[in-house]
């Protein structure tokens, strides 16, 4: 895992400007996901983010990182996933996960809560992210996800 970049310290930034807290690139190896998730959790603890919120952010981030490694990078450890943690002046957290894959169409995903899908062994990751975070955006072509927690 590449060394995370230090946070910036610009107290005079405009209201809509995001402050960079972490910017981590790591090779697409599932073993790295836990380390990145732990680093993010440690940063959220330093920010005094309440435990419930930290759990929700942590799980959403983990789901996004797994998708990036497994689907975006096809578990190819020569490819890199990037994860950024930022905050805005109102204390809102935004996490962006980017992979080099071709992307996907989130609107094409099946609803995991439909009866026929309840016993499926996959297909819940993006749905969970949307439930846990306050705002989720996919940048075209779908290889970047941006997740907000207010």
């Amino acid at each position: 895992m590449n060394k995370p970049m230090p946070p910036d310290s610009n107290p005079g930034r405009p209201e809509n400007e995001l402050s960079e807290l972490l910017n981590i690139g790591f090779l697409a190896d599932a073993a790295e996901i836990g380390k990145v998730a732990d680093t993010i959790d440690e940063t959220l603890i330093e920010l005094d983010v309440p435990e419930q919120k930290r759990l929700e952010i942590g799980l959403a981030v983990q789901e996004a990182l797994v998708n990036a490694v497994v689907h975006g990078c096809e578990n190819d450890p020569s490819k890199e996933v990037r994860c950024r943690l930022q905050s805005d002046p109102l204390g809102r957290i935004v996490i962006t996960v980017t992979d080099p894959g071709p992307g996907f169409r989130p609107e094409a995903l099946a609803d995991p809560k439909h009866q026929e899908n309840l016993y499926a062994d996959h297909g819940r990751g993006v749905y969970l992210i949307r439930q846990l975070m306050d705002q989720v955006d996919f940048e075209h072509p779908g290889n970047e996800i941006r997740m907000w927690k207010y």
Binding site: A30, Q52, Q62, D121, R124, G125, L128
Partner: protein
């Protein structure tokens, strides 16, 4: 995800293959369940039920319960506060 889920999958499949059909999973030490873990739980629940068995959960954390509820599978499982109560329910 990862080795923990893979190990659990292997153990459960081996047990099912040996004829065990009644399972109790104590989740007291599991702070969160991700979608991979949920997928394993529901698939295994389906497999055991096909053989007349069941998978029951003991002491899931508040967050694990929340997560299972969010994806609509909480009601598929019986939940217990302790192992004894879960074991008794199989009688």
């Amino acid at each position: 995800m990862g080795p923990a889920v893979d190990n659990l999958r292997q153990i459960l499949e081996e047990s099912l293959g040996c004829g065990d059909t009644r399972f109790l999973l104590n989740l007291a030490e599991v702070p969160m369940i991700d979608s991979t873990g949920i997928g394993l739980l529901v698939r295994f629940l389906a497999s055991t039920k096909q053989k007349g068995g069941n998978v029951k959960l003991v002491q899931p954390s508040k967050f694990a319960v929340q997560t299972l509820r969010l994806v609509g599978v909480l009601n598929l499982f019986e939940i217990f506060d302790n192992d004894d109560a879960a074991v008794e329910s199989f009688a």
